[in-house]
């Protein structure tokens, strides 16, 4: 809870600073946004780690091999990066770049999911063969 407040405050203050700086040096305003986003996600690292630890523990309890869920986590990570990156591009007024980032994210997410899809194919073929 405290963390949410902290991050919200930092982001709002940064947005204000960026608005102040934007008239004189627009690129500095963008850099401010980037710095705040990076700092916010880095500050979340502990929480994210405990969340992922919980997922790993749950997976271990179920007895399913972790390789089924690793592609999922990868796609979540990709979505995280892509969302921030495309938002920054949009802030800079480069909508085309933002969509390029999103396309790259979709392709890479599918690529990361390939092992999972392959595994699904194997299981289905084994069941039907």
């Amino acid at each position: 809870m405290g963390q949410v407040m902290q991050i919200t405050l930092v982001c709002v203050v940064t947005a204000l600073l960026a608005a102040a700086v934007r008239r004189g040096a627009p690129e500095a305003a963008l850099l401010l946004g980037l710095a705040a986003a990076v700092a916010a996600v880095l500050a979340l690292s502990e929480s994210l780690r405990s969340l992922m630890d919980f997922f790993a523990e749950l997976t271990a309890q179920t007895g399913v091999s972790n390789e089924l869920f690793v592609p999922l986590y990868k796609t979540v990570g990709i979505a995280l990066v892509v969302k921030i990156g495309s938002g920054l591009c949009k802030d800079a007024g480069a909508a085309a770049l933002a969509s390029a980032v999103e396309i790259a994210g979709a392709v890479c997410a599918l690529l990361a999911a390939l092992p999972l899809l392959k595994k699904a194919m194997d299981v289905l073929l084994e069941l039907m063969g």
Partner: protein
Amino acid sequence: MKQWLLALLLALLVTVPVSAAGVPDELWDALPEGTESILEDTDLSGTDPLGGGAVQIFQNLIGQARSVLLQRLRGAVSILLVALLCGAVEGFSQTAGGTGPKLVLAAGALSVTLLAAGSFESLIGMGGGTIQELNEFARILLPVLAAATAVSGSITTATVQQVTAVLFTGLLLKLIQELLLPLTYLYIGTLTASACLPGGRLGNIAEALRKCISWILCGALTAFTLYLSIAHVISGATDATAVKLASSAVAGMVPVVGSIIAEAAETVLAGAGMLKNTIGIFGTLAVLAACAWPFLHLGIQYLLYKLAGFLAGVIGSPELCKLIDGLGSAFGLVLGMTGASALLLLIAILSSVAAVT
């Protein structure tokens, strides 16, 4: 084929001069695995051997039910945990900007199927093994019964019925092993695929497959019982209302296999009064004892999966719930197959014994 079987029968008739009183050694040798101990404890010459043996089998089952339940509960809990994990990951990925492909369902469905696969291997193997054992037992038992029938005078009835029964059990076994078990695997595969894809178009195909399997099974059984009732072998002389009550209760409880079990109960109840000779009782008890163990496992697994499906619907996505429910139905189908072959054998025994006094 028929002629060959008849020749074999005649040879057996010559070589095995059995009276209706004793149980020959070869029957003991042919008993399905694990049933000897139960049958040895049963007093076949007592006043009510059938009831005593059934009680023996029942007590044996109750003793083992707890350990089986614990063993199977672990798998069901694992599946519930997967549903929980999928729910958590789904929520996480949605808040993190779930723009990518919908993979949570695929991963969840795959892990549920993989988790169930171990149980499937063992339980389907158990069901198939029991069917096989029952068939081999039938091959020894039915000629002996036919011989007993022949001794009591009616050779033609005995041989004709026995040939039909052997033919039918062999046919059903072939049907189950070469068509129905692969179809069950196909059903599981289709279920998994439909759970992986959002929308659930494939779910209808899976449902059709399931219906197809149970229709074939029920059809084969109905054909056999129809033949026997045309041949006036079984007379429903028992209290009709009690039978109807019992069968409707069973059918309502377990939808997939209910009709089969209910039919079995009806037939056995109808024929139990005729079971007066030792070999018939021995055979009936052996069939019951052979089925008891896989029935316990499959039944517990079936109920647990249905329960897990319901609970997964509460905590997880409806797709996973459907998949778990369908896997439970697959266990029910294997249960039905085992039950069908046991029923067939029971009817065959009853019909063979009917002529013996």
